[in-house]
């Protein structure tokens, strides 16, 4: 079942239009909505958290610039537009490596909103560290073999003397438990 993101499709549609009309608060909302997603995408594609942080700002600046000029033709596709812009900029960076021209920086208020979002990353890491401490040795092993060593449930099952289904269930349960913990703790702050 697909759950809606924090901002509904209707609100996203309105966001694009408000930015086109010059509403500064809409730009801040856009930053809140997409900073984490662009960052995660950047980390996964570049394997470099610092580069991903720089990319977040570049992507947001490019998206906001385009929205201000009314370049998004279908307001229903704002999320796809942000993803496409992120993908293109990341690919350009990977292709041209060190020769990326400097982009115009985000205005200070938006950059600040962006940094605040990124601070959550540190808090998330702290909570994950705490959650792992609470896991049993076998659950930790399943997560390690899945997310770091890249083994399939069948391989892990054979190595640990479990069934594939048990491995799969325990992995999903562990990820869900940490996700719930993060959601609970971070919604309080």
């Amino acid at each position: 079942m697909d759950l809606p993101s924090a901002t509904s499709a209707g609100e996203l549609r309105g966001l694009a239009e408000r930015i086109r009309q010059g509403d500064a608060s809409a730009e801040t909302e856009l930053v809140h909505e997409f900073t984490h997603r662009i960052f995660v995408m950047g980390v996964v594609r570049t394997h470099d958290r610092e580069a991903a942080r720089e990319l977040v700002q570049d992507v947001l600046m490019a998206v906001i610039g385009a929205l201000r000029k009314g370049q998004l033709q279908d307001a229903d596709k704002l999320a796809a537009f942000v993803h496409g812009t992120a993908r293109n900029l990341i690919n350009n960076q990977l292709r041209s490596a060190s020769q990326r021209p400097p982009m115009e920086p985000l205005p200070e208020d938006l950059a600040q909103a962006c940094r605040a979002e990124q601070l959550e990353d540190a808090e998330r890491m702290r909570l994950v560290h705490q959650a792992i401490e609470g896991f049993g040795q076998e659950d930790r092993r399943i997560l390690l073999m899945t997310l770091v060593e890249g083994h399939k449930p069948g391989e892990i099952a054979a190595a640990l003397g479990l069934t594939s289904e048990v491995v799969r269930t325990r992995k999903l349960r562990a990820v869900k438990k940490v996700t719930d913990l993060i959601r609970k703790k971070m919604s309080r702050t």
Partner: protein, 275 residues
């Protein structure tokens, strides 16, 4: 900025059933799958939360000491967990030997520019004797290219200074922390082959294979003869790590054709690959 959106949307059920989240984090999805999943999580709060958790778990688990295996074969790649430690020990040892020989050979001046090489005179990481053919993981193992600090008589420019500071992390075996400085130097001086070469080496040794390939390709395109052979060789290692054997063979072939100090090592890896 043009966008093309042919990727179809994925749903949460598929993400779970096809282990898409793990595949994405491990860089194992095909490009269309990756696009589909990204498009999905840009709109799906639930999958995105799990992805954020997965990414954080992965980062945290990578930095934990290896856990004892409960069963035989439980950690099939445990040796990789220790690779940075071995690499750091080897590097320190190599640096000591190199420093000693350099002092003897050139008492008044340090070498200004020396192409990187894996030091053949220094014993490399001991490998257990084995009658079986080495695995792809074993063939993909990388020794850190030797780094010689360049001492110039004049004032250093800013890029060189940044590079030298960052390389202090490299010599300590902390490749991930060397990356930002080396990258900044390469960005400021994109035609300096040594900056790009060590950037590629840092990426490779820090486990960031794709950006390493980009950096080594940049060296090849620069055509600096001092770094060409090493760039082809390390490109081959990067492709082996990605299990792209044909591309690796191609780079090894190019290494052999240059008849440099890495010729025999490249030829031996080629021979093993063709077994």
């Amino acid at each position: 900025m043009p966008h093309s959106y042919q990727a179809r949307a994925m749903n949460c059920k598929e993400v779970e059933e096809r282990h898409i989240l793990e595949g994405y984090l491990l860089d194992r999805l095909s490009e269309p799958e990756r696009e589909e999943f990204e498009k999905h999580y840009f709109e799906c709060g639930s999958c995105f939360s799990q992805l954020q958790t997965g990414l954080a778990l992965q980062a945290e688990l990578q930095h934990r000491p290896a856990m004892p295996a409960r069963a035989r074969g439980a950690s099939l790649r445990r040796t990789w967990v220790w690779a940075p430690v071995f690499a750091a020990m080897l590097l320190l040892f190599s640096a000591g030997i190199w420093w000693y020989t350099a002092q003897k050979r050139q008492p008044s001046q340090q070498v200004a520019s020396s192409p990187p090489k894996t030091s053949p005179e220094v014993p490399v990481q001991a490998k257990p004797p084995s009658m079986a053919a080495p695995s792809l993981e074993e063939l993909a193992r990388v020794e850190p290219p030797a780094y010689t600090e360049i001492v110039l008589r004049g004032a250093e420019d800013e890029a060189q200074e940044t590079f030298h500071k960052a390389m202090q992390f490299y010599v300590k075996g902390d490749y991930a922390h060397a990356i930002p400085g080396v990258r900044a130097a390469a960005k400021a001086s994109p035609r300096t082959a040594s900056f790009n070469f060590y950037l590629g080496a840092c990426y490779l040794l820090a486990g960031q294979t794709d950006p390493a390939i980009v950096s080594f390709r940049q060296i090849v395109s620069l055509g600096d003869p001092a770094y060409s052979e090493s760039a082809h060789f390390y490109l081959a290692k990067a492709y082996l790590r990605k299990r792209e054997v044909t591309a690796a063979e191609d780079e090894l072939q190019k290494t052999v054709q240059l008849h440099g100090s890495l010729e025999s090592e490249a030829a031996e890896i080629l021979r093993q690959l063709r077994k």
